[in-house]
Amino acid sequence: MTTTILKTHDLSIKFGGVTAVDCVNIEAHDNELIGLIGPNGAGKTTLFNLLTGVYQPTHGTVSLFNGEKLAQVNHVSAYKRAQLGIARTFQNIRLFKTRTVIENVLIAMTNQTAAKTIHAIFRTPSFYQHEAKKRQHAMALLDIFNMAHVADELASNLPYGQQRRLEIVRALATNPKILFLDEPAAGMNPQETAALTALIKQIQQQFQLTIILIEHDMNLVMTVSQRVYVLEYGKILATGTPTEIQQNPAVIKAYLGDDMP
């Protein structure tokens, strides 16, 4: 029995005269891995921004499962949606570059097990206990991703692939129900992409969450996704299993053009 964890109804946003996302109806289920593909400028990242609360839709609704039922979250700001269990990574990496790897993860745990500020100011034993616990949790998380040995490195000193990986770890540290990955393989070499493919599968199994993934690397998308949405000119062009999508004439046309011999 799967529950619908995220649903949109006629979701649209206009920037001036441009309708970047146009009447999009998608839904995601518990523990599902969804691929979101489409040509450049199709509105994939805009859709992510609508779902995570960065943008407010001009029309339509976003609903999230709150434990009992789907509730509309149109006017819930981005940070509150994060507290409801939405986490994301960014197309252009947004790490806290001047902080260390573990500090990046610790900041993501701001809303969990935080010692009261008053304890921090007076340095009570409770503060040290909380700090130790948080650090332990963060280290455990880093360990899963084989990053424990770089915990005290500056985030900006990490190689590119590891920075992307750290962004994922940081997102997971918020204890999310849905994880949005915006082009996680962008700029990676084939080896790194292969490692990432394995990693995404591992995350989903280990953390039991829904993952929605924007990616241009078709091999990656088709390997990991259970279901794929294709977006073109802000509209959903097709949806289905990876095999269905690969054989869909409309999708082939959108990607390769009309005049296929």
């Binding site: 940070y79 994060a82 947004r94 570059k97 260390t100 304890h119 921090a120």
Partner: protein, 326 residues
Amino acid sequence: MDRKHLKYTLTWALLITMLFVLIELLTVFDIIGQYGITTIVLIGINLIAAVGLNLVIGMSGQFSLGHAGFMAIGAYATALMTTALPSIYGFILSLLVGGLISGLVALAVGIPTLRLRGDYLAIATLGVSEIIRIIIINMKITRGPAGIFGIPAFVNWQMVFVLSVIVIIIVVNFVRSTSGQAIIAVRDNDIAAESLGINTTKYKVMAFVAGAILAAIAGGLRASFIQSVSPQDYTFMQSITILIIVVLGGIGSISGTVVTAIILGVLDVILQNFGTLRMVIYALVLIIVMIFRPKGLLGTTEFSLQKLLFDSGGSHDHNDSKNARS
């Protein structure tokens, strides 16, 4: 608290006590004289205000030019309350009331203005500071442009010394708390912070309010020490004076602020002998520091006893990531 922390805390306590005893001896044997004591008190007062401003500018990354306004609130609270209630309790109460009013004003002002960024926020906070000053000029109770004289004196250097130490400890510990770390995260990358469930507005306002409270306490101490307040003391130039300490010390470095407050205070004394050349030399010092250390004397680094004494063989590179530990 484990042994390492205890050892570390005790070392700090010892150093601070030594400094206190040193100043005490200097005054007892009349080596620095009344003028020296005045300098120490003014350094302490500037330090408290500057640490507060560094919380706003350095930690939360919001450029505020309104610090003088919040100092004025504290100064007038102390001036009015200690005149009516001339006792040490009245004075302590006045510091609390000044801090409270200042904090509330910062809260009311911060929520709309902290949506602005950079220059826009600077102009908005400058405006707020001027509004506070003009309200003071036009109110009967504050005696308008003439100001208030004959405020009872309750401030001595020991009190300012102890208060400065307390303020520094509180601020440093606050910065390392979860809230403090969230404030820095918002500064570093607000979109990422928001995506991690951090309420960016809340933490920006928190830093702004904390800065305003510290400014008010500094203002209150100053009013009681100089024994007079007037609106002219809290113009734009007062904000700049505090801003210079923060920028010169290194935006985001509390140790930098402490060091610079002391250096500038001492420099002020030395330059007394140069007469009119004083402001020229002062300006030259600022320019030279900004050319050779554009990020301020200490950048974003914090002075750390732990690194200095307890980490043998550790590298001492100016690594701004390490400042969260100590």
